[in-house]
């Protein structure tokens, strides 16, 4: 079967290419969604593209399709490299790829047709959930079997994180989507709101974060040509993130009438998050200290460094936003949208792109088609995301403070207009970056033309 063709590192390559395609799809959907808020009747009365259906298509595509696919694809390359063996089964890997991609595709098409469970990042209906769970399981088996056949005795920290991500995500996904309730995919009442955010934050904290940290832990020492600063810090960062990041989801609903003890758990956990984040960042910072020039000479190093800076910013903001006094202003408005883009695109997305640009040339044994295009992608994303974040944070502060002052939501809508236009424009930089990245990747893989001198 052509689709399950076996070739060395074929699974990793196919995952990374899929990710670049989902990046284009996801950002394009997001762009169309942004036009709705700037000009609600520009794209009008098309059921498939109405705001409420498009928004979950956008979020799920970028979280699972773009970020998840690139980072797990990087895992398919990193696990064999770090255990000094070959992947257990390329065929199984390809099978996982197709189950995964078809699940994402069908989930989104169904959302467009109006089939949604309407719980954030758990909108996909039951059959799609089963596909996603199957894909996670197949990927886990492949990682595990590869690791069990390793030639290298010591497992590097990246391997720990890849396993933790898959185990936790499978569990979060299974419980969070209430898979035992196929018709609704949910519980009843506020218990369901709590479950949904237990899951929702789990996807951020125990899916995207450990995967991205795994890739960063690999790329930083390799590219800056320096040994990892501390094994102990790796251990502390690893176990504390699992304990502390997993139970803070209720900070999304502390303004609803959930039990007070649950709010206390969520807020305390959120603040404690600074511990694992600081541990990882300090460990990586002390690894690359003094070698930033070397790191930035490499396109993957550049992306990882920027991703870690976004990580620091988003993880300082996150715990503070969990505080009730801060949330009075920042909750329910565009501040949160700015924050989530910083986390998904800035942190996990940037590191996913670093994975693509590091691993693809290594797999195919040729440099990138055009390193400058990757640089252009980098700068478009840096500018686009910075502008996007500033615009939406500003809009959020205006909304939050106006509401707190007793202004009706309707009265704040005209104030938002200019920010939604600016948001659309800053989003165009991000969309452009996705298209340039896909073009560069396709040319690298299939139509490199004249080989340019020097490795990336």
């Amino acid at each position: 079967m052509q689709l399950l063709k076996v070739e060395p590192n074929g699974t990793a390559k196919a995952f990374l290419l899929s990710s670049a395609i989902w990046f284009v799809v996801g950002t394009t959907l997001g762009g169309i969604d942004a036009t709705h808020l700037a000009a609600p009747e520009l794209i009008d009365n098309i059921p498939f593209l109405v705001f409420g259906r498009l928004r979950p298509m956008h979020t799920n595509t970028v979280i699972f399709g773009f970020v998840g696919t690139s980072l797990m694809g990087a895992g398919f390359y990193l696990i064999p490299v770090m255990t000094r063996t070959v992947l257990y089964s390329e065929r199984l890997g390809k099978l996982a790829l197709w189950v995964w991609n078809l699940s994402i595709l069908s989930g989104n098409v169904l959302l467009g047709l109006g089939y949604s469970q309407s719980r954030e990042y758990a909108e996909w209906i039951w059959p799609v959930d089963i596909g996603i769970l199957t894909a996670f399981a197949l990927i886990f088996v492949n990682y595990l079997m590869t690791t069990l056949r390793r030639q290298e005795k010591i497992l590097y920290v990246s391997v720990w994180y890849l396993f933790a991500a898959l185990v936790f995500t499978w569990c979060f996904y299974f419980f969070g989507n209430a898979v035992w309730n196929p018709r609704t995919g949910s519980l009843a009442g506020l218990a369901d709101a709590n479950l949904a955010w237990f899951y929702g934050h789990g996807i951020i904290g125990l899916f995207m974060t450990p995967l991205a940290v795994a890739v960063a832990y690999y790329i930083v020492p390799i590219v800056s040509r320096a040994p990892l600063y501390s094994h102990s810090l790796s251990l502390i960062g690893f176990w504390t993130i699992l304990v502390l990041y997993s139970h803070i989801g209720a900070h999304h609903i502390i303004q609803t009438p959930i039990p007070t003890w649950l709010k206390v758990v969520a807020i305390t956990g959120s603040l404690s998050m600074l511990l694992p984040v600081a541990t990882v960042l300090v460990n990586l910072w002390l690894t690359m200290r003094g070698r930033l020039g070397v790191l930035h000479a490499n396109i993957a190093g550049k992306f990882v460094f920027a991703g870690l800076v976004w990580y620091a910013l988003v993880c300082i903001a996150g715990p503070l936003q969990a505080l009730p006094s801060v949330q009075r202003v920042t909750h329910l408005n565009n501040w949160v949208i700015a924050h989530s883009h910083l986390g998904v695109l800035g942190f996990a997305g940037f590191i996913g792109l670093a994975g693509i640009w590091l691993i693809i040339p290594r797999i195919i044994g040729r440099p990138l088609y055009e390193k400058r295009l990757a640089d252009i992608q980098y700068w478009l994303l840096i500018f686009g995301l910075t502008a996007f974040h500033l615009v939406l944070s500003t809009a959020g502060l205006i909304q939050g403070n106006s509401w707190l002052n007793g202004e009706a939501i309707y009265r704040t809508l005209p104030m938002m207009h200019i920010y939604m236009v600016l948001r659309l424009f800053s989003g165009l930089f991000i969309i452009g970056a996705a298209y340039i990245g896909l073009y560069n990747l396709l040319r690298t893989l299939y139509w490199p033309g004249k080989i340019k001198e020097g490795l990336p």
Partner: protein
């Protein structure tokens, strides 16, 4: 610590189990399942409407909970845990591009909702909500039934009032303009009927009134105040034609009272949560001057002078 696959996977499962117990199972069994006093079962049509709401992602712009520090949201009841026992899945929401809907039922009559779903800007000119005409009238009817049930028994109470007054309003409208205007005035308390607009007619005030008219009124009453705005075909009784009102004793107080409180049973909503006092006077003055063609602005009254507009101020002299 020797990190082998067994240690990592077992450690992950142990930690996840502990977290699952604390953060999911404990809340699941401790969050109250006793319904609050206002809860009642939904009808099949309301349930269908809820599914349409869920499938179309309405929850991404509308919350269904009122926080203790919220105001201006149209709902006066802070949400309680027991309000949600029937909600599968929950639709609490995390963003507010539109108003909170937890007490939406009965704030508007059904015909207002029809116009609003066909094109939200027909009745709310600055809304960014999508048009839902593509759903078709059957689904829109179900959605409206669901929206009118939000708030359960409190919503039923408000709906009963809407239906009661709609009949009266229709009766008055069908009796012709004279009778209709009389009926409308009769329901404004006497002190308000006799109250003139206390502010002077100035360009400043008329410009503000125009801006507010465009943001709040134009969809129903139309750009020339004849009640032929884009929402008109959907509304029964139709929006009031201001140009008929000259010489019928419309005071500033009547306009103010009706803008403030709305006219229950008709599509005219209350604006007191969105517009402060001076803005209501301004838009009333704009309607009086431009569409009715007469104003009682600052007619002699027996009240104390308004502090910032003293009767013999230079501003008054400038006007003269």
């Amino acid at each position: 610590m020797k990190m082998v696959p067994m240690v990592i996977v077992t450690g992950c499962l142990l930690i996840f189990s502990a977290v699952l117990f604390i953060s999911m199972l404990l809340p699941w069994h401790t969050i109250s399942e006793a319904p609050s006093a206002v809860v009642r079962a939904r009808t099949p049509l309301e349930e269908e409407g809820r599914r349409i709401y869920q499938n179309n992602g309405c929850t991404f712009c509308h919350t269904q909970f009122v926080r203790p520090f919220d105001w201006g949201s149209g709902s006066e009841r802070i949400s309680q845990s027991g309000d949600y026992v029937l909600d599968v899945p929950h639709l609490v929401g995390t963003e507010r591009w539109g108003p909170d809907l937890s007490q939406e039922g009965g704030l508007h009559p059904d015909d207002w909702h029809v116009a609003h779903f066909i094109n939200p800007r027909f009745v709310r000119p600055e809304s960014v909500m999508p048009n839902w005409e593509f759903l078709g009238m059957d689904q829109i009817r179900a959605l409206i039934a669901y929206k009118q049930s939000l708030g359960f028994k409190l919503a039923d109470h408000r709906m009963a009032r809407q239906n009661f007054w709609k009949e009266k309003a229709l009766e008055a409208f069908r009796a012709g303009p004279d009778e209709n205007v009389r009926w409308l005035h009769d329901h404004v308390p006497a002190p308000w009927r006799e109250l003139p607009n206390p502010y002077p007619t100035t360009d400043y005030r008329l410009n503000r009134g125009k801006r507010i008219y465009q943001g709040f009124c134009i969809g129903c009453h139309g750009p020339i105040g004849d009640g032929m705005g884009p929402a008109q075909p959907y509304l029964d009784p139709p929006p009031l034609n201001f140009t008929l009102l000259k010489g019928r004793g419309i005071s500033g107080g009547i306009l103010y009272y009706q803008i403030m409180n709305g006219i229950t049973g008709t599509a005219m909503p209350f604006f007191k949560e969105e517009l402060e006092s001076e803005k209501i006077w301004s838009v009333g003055e704009y309607v009086a001057v431009y569409f009715i063609g007469e104003t009682d602005s600052r007619r002699e009254t027996v009240t104390i002078d308004i502090a910032n507009e003293i009767a013999d101020s230079p501003l008054k002299k400038e006007e003269e």
